[in-house]
């Protein structure tokens, strides 16, 4: 569809302008639904946590409080962005952009259904890992530019935490690559075809756990939200931000949550493949369900787990967090690389043949 649009455009305008316009349209088509999903994820978070704590949650704006995220967004947009004195104004304002730009750029390679992908590149996994690693600058720069001790401590904590958990995450992805034999996200999903027992969840179960928990740590979510740590450092790196500048950090965090859920579903839970594949009666019964629905359902479940974690676990102490990353997850992933190697050698199960 987009190639025909580009061809039609390049018929009567400059070549580069045609490409640029096509790229912009593609970006809007992907970013707009994600931003809407982010808005309603905040609503879902408040509702889910409220019900877990036997409260009602937002229920005033619109039916069941459904217009709450829109009201929040409008409120934040009209608030003043306060610039702290003695702060570095340029870096202070660039920091939220540094946080959100990678969180949006990653979606360029994420497939939503067969063929529903902006660019189907061969190094997809590496691209996601590389671009997601840039998000740390948003936190570090905001911490430094705010000229506030709390923000600075939050920035330092966050940078150390993200680097530590990125290693475990990268190794977990290495095992996925070893099973799938490709870095292309579409091909990784296609490799899991043939029923629920073909999903990489089964041979890589510990890696699934490591990847998802590292993802929680990467996005600075509870119980790993020591970068914010309300009880110790007020609100950490975004303590000096207000209005839309604060909202942008918020958007970036939630967009990264959705991304981690998408990546986990694609790499371990069979992406858009139906869980009833290969089961005689159920397969025909659910054949009408569009593939995107399955992916969305898996992502929604994982996002629910994110919120569930937040409502359940107390915040980790800093040294416990570092111990979990360096002394538990990284050795576990290295051991599992060798386990996968042996499984490869002995051609175990339906995954290696």
């Amino acid at each position: 569809m987009f190639t025909t649009l580009q061809q039609w455009l390049s018929g009567w305008m400059w070549d580069w302008l045609a490409v640029l316009i096509t790229l912009l349209i593609q970006a809007v088509v992907v970013i707009l639904p994600i931003m809407i999903a982010v808005a309603y994820l905040t609503y879902a978070e408040r509702k889910v946590i409220a019900y877990m704590q036997v409260r009602m949650g937002p229920n005033r704006v619109g039916p069941y409080g459904l217009l709450q995220p829109i009201a929040d967004a409008v409120k934040l947009m009209f608030k003043e962005v306060v610039l702290p004195s003695q702060s570095n104004v340029y870096l202070f304002l660039i920091a939220p952009i540094l946080a959100i730009a990678p969180a949006i750029a990653v979606w360029a390679v994420v497939p939503f259904a067969p063929g529903w992908v902006v660019t189907d590149i061969d190094a997809g996994v590496l691209y996601v890992l590389a671009v997601a690693s840039i998000t740390v600058y948003g936190v570090v720069v905001s911490g430094w530019a705010s000229n506030s001790k709390y923000a600075f401590l939050g920035g330092l904590r966050s940078s150390a935490q993200k680097i530590s958990y990125e290693i475990a995450m990268g190794f977990a992805l290495v095992t996925v690559l070893m099973v799938a034999d490709t870095m292309n996200l579409t091909k990784i999903v296609e490799g899991q075809q043939g029923g629920i027992w073909h999903w990489y969840l089964i041979p890589l179960l510990p890696m699934f756990v490591v990847y998802f928990i590292s993802g929680v740590a990467e996005t600075n979510r509870a119980p790993f939200d020591i970068a914010e740590g309300e009880s110790e450092i007020v609100a950490g790196f975004h303590v000096e931000y207000s209005g839309m500048a604060f909202a942008v950090f918020f958007l970036a965090e939630y967009a990264m949550m959705i991304l981690i859920s998408y990546m986990t579903s694609i790499m371990f839970l069979g992406g858009w493949l139906s869980p009833f594949e290969g089961i005689p009666l159920l397969e025909t019964l659910f054949a009408w369900v569009p593939p995107f629905f399955w992916l969305a359902a898996k992502v929604a479940f994982l996002l629910f787990v994110f919120l569930w974690f937040r409502a359940t676990f107390p915040r980790y102490r800093y040294d416990q967090l570092m111990r979990l990353g360096w002394k538990v997850f990284i050795p576990l992933t290295i051991v599992w690389v060798f386990v996968v190697m042996l499984m490869h050698y002995f051609k175990v199960g339906p995954w290696f043949n």
């Binding site: 580069w16 870096l91 061969d122 590496l126 590389a130 690693s133 600058y137 940078s159 111990r323």
Partner: protein, 215 residues
């Protein structure tokens, strides 16, 4: 102008500008951030040259890890800029001389007569050309020994870094967290359930002392 050329010139200009800012900007934190920009735009240029693996690894390793640690250190330094600028005019002639010599050397090795599309025709690759595989096959076959040697070197570096920074002090000087003991702890170790018989206060007789005390 094709779209690739537009992107190439944009990223090349950003990389050159950012590189210049790294060495001219005064604040070390800002210099490190300009270096990040230089790396990112260089990675983009590499990806345009069909070296997507190298480009992405550049971002992943240098931008995502090394420079964050770099910033980490630089942010905590308390640098006196005036002190650092001392003797600038004194060393300027030597600095200019050295930079000219280095520039001349680079010009001789990679000057315009060694470069350009005339000398090096870009090879056309098919759609299933994978840069990752092109790097991986020679790395693990032709250059396997050098690769292993580099790995051993890195291991020695890690061991040395840990050995240099490790200082175990006796427990009398510093408190250590014994996390294994903390994890192993159970509710019974910390908490004793005691059954205390309910104490029923006898009804107090109406007395005047209490009322007086309240006053």
């Amino acid at each position: 102008m094709s779209f690739e050329q537009l992107v190439f010139y944009a990223f090349a200009a950003i990389a050159a500008f950012a590189g210049l800012m790294v060495i001219t900007v005064r604040n070390p934190v800002k210099a490190a951030l300009w270096l990040v920009l230089a790396f990112v735009s260089t990675a983009a240029v590499w990806i345009l040259a069909e070296a997507e693996f190298l480009g992405l690894v550049l971002i992943l390793v240098y931008v995502g890890a090394v420079l964050v640690l770099f910033l980490f250190v630089v942010m905590m330094l308390d640098i006196n800029l005036a002190e650092m600028k001392e003797g600038f005019t004194r060393y300027l002639p030597i600095g200019v001389l050295v930079s000219l010599v280095v520039f001349g050397l680079i010009y001789m090795v990679v000057g315009p007569e060694h470069f350009g599309l005339e000398q090096f025709k870009p090879t056309e690759h098919g759609p299933d050309y994978s840069n990752t595989k092109e790097i991986a096959v020679p790395l693990y076959t032709q250059h396997a020994y050098a690769f292993v040697l580099a790995a051993v070197l890195l291991l020695v570096g890690i061991v040395a870094a840990i050995a240099l920074t490790l200082r175990r002090r006796p427990p009398s000087e510093a408190l250590y967290q014994d996390i294994d003991a903390q994890v192993r702890v159970r509710a019974e170790d910390r908490l004793t359930m005691v059954k205390i018989p309910a104490e029923v206060e006898p009804d107090l007789p109406e007395n005047k002392e209490e009322e007086e005390g309240a006053k």
